[in-house]
Amino acid sequence: MITLAYYPGCTLYTKGKNLDIAARKSAELLGVELKELESWNCCGAIYSPVTDDIASQVAPIRNLIEAQKISRKLVTLCAACYNVLKRANRNLFLPENYQYRKRLLNYLEESYDGSTETIHYLEMLRDIVGFENLKTHVQKHLTSLRVAAYYGCLMVRPSEELMFDNPDNPTVMEEMFLALGASPVNYAFKTECCGGYIVVNQPEVAKRCAQTILENIANAGAECIATTCPLCQYSLDNQQKVMSKEYKLPVFYFTQLLALSIGISPELLNFDNHYIDPKPLLKEKGLLL
């Protein structure tokens, strides 16, 4: 068992709990203890690139300091947390930001040298658990499940700062699905923006962003979608309610499908808590009784 620091972020205890619960249970089965930071605060949900905005960087850096008490790597699940924490650390410790760094670190109770490495859960699966090893844990092969792995913006861009995967054609989630026996589909808009936070004041614009993606996914022949972010999940799932066309595409968190496949009880995975009911599809595939 290896122990890694874990940061759930503001949404994962409530509206994003389907992402969180499945991830914790799966990690445990795969030999990783995810130890939640003892004291954490919201990362701010969106990175501020404004060059004199020091206040917005205090929260993410505090979390990175807290993580040091557990491990050098900090695991995140929400794409937005990943983006904010990783960029905050990287940009603060650029050599040219010396003055800025000094000012910011002055606000904090503890000293920090930038050594916490933020990783995404998918990177943990690839680099620490290993996809070959993951295969040996599969109880229910997701055979013939045609899933669209949807990344959105925050996992992959800016690529120079995140260095997560190819910014236009990331494949790590597809690799995970292949290990679970599923059939990920190829489609064009896997890193197209779902509309993100503009759904709050421009719902019509956000709806069109989500619809463009759903249309693309439906045309590619996918039966369901997997996301890494509560806001992407909301945009693609709940907004199907207000669309002129019926897509009937269930939108999972990638961790729900992972957990189901490695034998975690479906009762723990909240398949009732979706707008588009995923149970008929899972039953059809023999993944659910």
Binding site: P49, R157, C193, I198, V200, C209, Q233
Partner: protein, 132 residues
């Protein structure tokens, strides 16, 4: 109130400082706008906004609705062949507005049912980008 007592040059400098971008570097290829997921609703669209800034129409861009529509998806900056990041410029333009107490989000107008369903993350991000 927008800081219209300041000269255009001062404002342009401030936009460049806050965004860390050089406005003059843009050669108007349109790549940013082509990839922008919300360009269909934006006025002006990213490359037009930059052109207006280059020509000195700073106030027009500062007061435009387009700067508030940017979803911060980072496509424009990722793909610009000249190393210009319009998303950061939009953030600088918003920041100047926010610091003058100008912002578009009216909290009372947010739908109650939406509040119950949408993830917290959406509100935190929107409040940061669209309010003070």
């Amino acid at each position: 109130m927008l800081p219209n007592l300041r000269s255009n040059e001062e404002l342009l400098k401030e936009i460049e400082n806050l965004s860390g971008q050089r406005i003059i570097d843009c050669y108007q290829c349109g790549e940013c706008t082509a990839g922008c997921p919300v360009a269909f609703a934006m006025e002006p669209v990213p490359n037009q906004a930059i052109r207006l800034l280059q020509l000195g129409y700073i106030d027009e861009v500062l007061k435009s609705s387009g700067i508030w529509l940017c979803a911060s998806c980072n496509v424009c900056g990722e793909r610009c062949p000249r190393g210009v990041d319009y998303g950061k410029i939009a953030d600088a333009l918003r920041t100047i507005n926010l610091r003058n107490n100008n912002y578009p989000l009216v909290l009372e107008k947010i739908d109650k049912e939406f509040i119950n369903q949408a993830p917290q993350q959406a509100f935190i991000a929107a409040f940061r980008k669209l309010t003070t």
